[in-house]
């Protein structure tokens, strides 16, 4: 599941850079850099959550986390 998030972020970066080239503007590349920074921070948090979940439940299936069901 994390993989898909990384994929999405990468695709957005790709689009940004591509268009910045096409539109002869630097803004896209700068924004892409910021995205990379945020992605890194986000990965840290996400991994921490995954570790915690695995430590308490010993079960990685995301579909089994439905405590808020109702």
């Amino acid at each position: 599941m994390f993989m898909s998030v990384e994929l999405m972020l990468n695709s957005v970066n790709f689009l940004l850079v591509g268009y910045s080239n096409f539109l002869k503007s630097v803004d896209g590349q700068i924004f892409a850099l910021m995205i990379m920074a945020v992605a890194a921070a986000e990965v840290v948090v996400g991994l921490a959550i995954i570790l915690t979940i695995f430590r308490t439940r010993h079960d990685m299936d995301v579909d089994h986390i439905d405590v808020l069901k109702g």
Binding site: M1, D63, I65, D66, L68, K69, G70
Partner: protein, 595 residues
């Protein structure tokens, strides 16, 4: 408060009212100007712009006349009640209710406009309900009270509708204004005035127990005897007659209604008289007698002889109260026995009561020189001779007089003459009860001679003096009728038992009809009470429970089920939520792009 204090206080209030009324009377007599009526506004209730509803009283000959009867006879009856109700545990409550009644009746007769009149009218109905059902553990009494109240309310509705119509047409409810404006506002026998007088009549007939709203009166005898004397003889039931007299201006503009009044009055007179001939409960006979005599009063009013109607109202108040209180004395002295077939020979055991009852009976039958004689003869003779009278009215009235003589002396003979039929040990009543009897007997014999004074006094209000036509033939027949009735009673009950049984068997079907009150109660029950009850039950089950309650419950139930379904959407699963977010973003983007 101790019993003595309660009794004294209860009587004193009424006695005081009587004295004040005497003062009012003297003022009216001394200063003829005042006889046009003085209005006094007691309390301003509601004012809306130029319209205001007040509690105002009118002091004029008619109201003072009624008030004298109400407070005077009321006082005498209160004194009697001190003795009669002595052993009753709810002594104080009785006097409270009795005083409430006197108050209500006073309001009714003193009211200066239709509004206050209706207030008094309804209050009197309430007091009647409370007093009839005084012995509230007795089921029959409670049912009778309810019956009386329901019928009274029917009358109240009529009154209110009439009041609305009067206001609609004339813009005021004040008596003096209404009567002044009525002449110009209505043509004689105009639809509007006919309806107004008819609706007022519904009220009058309900309160005065005339056909068809009469069935409550015999049942009302469930109340203590002083109640029967006060309310169902002297005062409340006369409110209907007072109403017609008060509104005579309106009735004179509606001759058709007056004809109806006279007809209903005279029919009720013999209808009730016939039923009174076969009852064996002493109070019931007297109750039917009241109904019958009220019929005579309405007959008089219906032919335009208002003063005579009021005169008969007064004499009747005295001798009817006398009869009721004497009957009460008999009941009290015979250990609460009310069935005349269980009595006999009380002449010796209760001498004073015997004489007073006899005097009352003579007055009721119209024996010459008693008060009842003067008033009743005036009615009977004018039933024929007045402008609106006719021979049929006269004939029926005469027949009624014969019946009257019969039924009351039948009771007299059964009760006081002969040998005691049971071993009931009867004793005379205490002085506090016999003194009022003697007083009332005295008046029953004397007030008859004051006929002209009454006529003069009320002439200012009615605008005319009552004629007394000179017709010796018809008059003698009228007088004779009462005597014939008495004679019939004498013959009937001095006859041997076998002949009596024979006659009874011959007349059995008629007897049954009369005894069962012409089955009117049963008819009403079938036609009115049962359908009303059924409708109520239907409404309760189908409309209220299956309909409205169901609807309200369903609102709650459906909301709950819908929310159950919706809550399935909250799966708790991250993937589901993520999906929802994407769907939402796509929708928003679509709006943005295709804007």
């Amino acid at each position: 408060m101790s019993r003595e204090r309660v009794g004294m206080f209860g009587c004193a209030t009424v006695g005081l009212s009587f004295l004040v009324t005497l003062v009012a009377l003297s003022e009216l007599l001394l200063d003829v100007e005042k006889q046009k009526g003085a209005v006094s506004t007691l309390y301003n209730w509601v004012t809306a712009g130029s319209f205001s509803l007040n509690l105002s009283i009118l002091i004029d000959p008619l109201s003072v006349f009624m008030l004298l009867i109400v407070t005077g006879v009321g006082f005498v009856i209160h004194v009697y009640s001190v003795g009669y109700m002595r052993e009753d545990p709810e002594y104080s409550r009785f006097f409270a209710y009795m005083n409430l009644f006197i108050f209500s009746m006073s309001v009714l007769v003193m009211a200066a406009d239709f509004f206050f009149l209706i207030v008094g009218w309804a209050l009197v109905g309430l007091a009647s309900y409370l007093l009839i059902g005084f012995w509230k553990e007795k089921t029959s009494a409670v049912l009778a009270a309810r019956k009386a109240f329901v019928m009274n309310v029917i009358g109240d509705v009529g009154m209110v509708i009439a009041a609305f119509m009067i206001f609609d047409h004339l813009g005021t409810l004040n008596f003096l204004d209404v009567f002044a404006l009525a002449e110009e506002a209505f043509r004689p026998n105009d639809d509007a005035i006919l309806l107004i007088t008819l609706f007022l009549l519904v009220g009058a007939f309900a309160k005065s127990a005339q056909i068809p709203l009469h069935t409550w009166l015999p049942d009302a005898m469930e109340g203590p005897t002083p109640v029967s004397a006060l309310i169902h003889a002297a005062t409340m039931v006369t409110a209907g007659v007072y109403l017609v007299a008060r509104c005579h201006v309106l009735y004179e503009l509606a001759p058709y209604t007056m004809y109806l009044i006279a007809t209903v009055g005279v029919v009720t007179a013999i209808f009730a008289g016939s039923m009174g001939m076969v009852q064996y409960d002493i109070k019931r006979v007297i109750a039917y007698s009241t109904m019958s005599q009220l019929g005579y009063m309405f007959l008089a009013a219906g032919v335009g002889m208002y003063s005579i109607a009021m005169f008969h109202l007064m004499t009747h108040a005295f001798f009817k109260a006398l009869l009721f209180l004497s009957a009460g004395s008999v009941i009290h002295g015979s250990n609460d026995e009310q069935d005349i077939r269980q009595m006999g020979g009380l002449r010796r055991a209760m001498p004073i009561t015997h004489i007073t009852f006899l005097i009352g009976s003579l007055a009721l039958a119209g024996f010459p020189l008693t008060s009842g004689f003067f008033s009743k003869e005036a009615i009977i003779i004018n039933a024929y001779h007045s402008d609106m009278g006719n021979i049929v009215f006269w004939a029926i009235a005469v027949l009624g007089a014969a019946m009257t003589g019969f039924y009351i002396f039948r009771v007299y003979f059964y009760t006081f003459v002969g040998q005691p039929r049971t071993s009931v040990h009867a004793h005379e009543s205490p002085r506090i009860m016999t003194a009022p009897l003697v007083l009332l007997a005295f008046f029953s014999l004397t007030v008859g001679f004051g006929g002209h004074m009454v006529d003069d006094f009320l002439a200012t209000y009615f605008g005319m003096h009552m004629p007394h036509p000179d017709d010796p033939v018809f008059e003698t027949i009228g007088v004779g009728a009462g005597l014939v009735g008495i004679a019939a009673a004498i013959i009937f009950y001095m006859t041997g038992k076998d002949r009596l049984e024979f006659i009874k068997r011959m007349l059995a079907p008629i007897y049954d009809l009369l005894f069962h009150k012409y089955y009117i109660d049963e008819i009403y029950d079938y036609l009115i009470v049962k359908p009303t009850r059924a409708t109520g039950a239907f409404m309760e089950k189908k409309v209220e429970r299956d309909g409205i309650d169901m609807a309200v419950d369903q609102v709650g139930t459906q909301v709950r089920e819908a929310s159950q379904i919706i809550s399935l959407w909250q799966s708790g699963k991250v993937r589901g939520y993520a999906f929802n977010m994407i769907v939402g973003v796509v929708i928003i983007l679509m709006f943005v792009v295709f804007q």
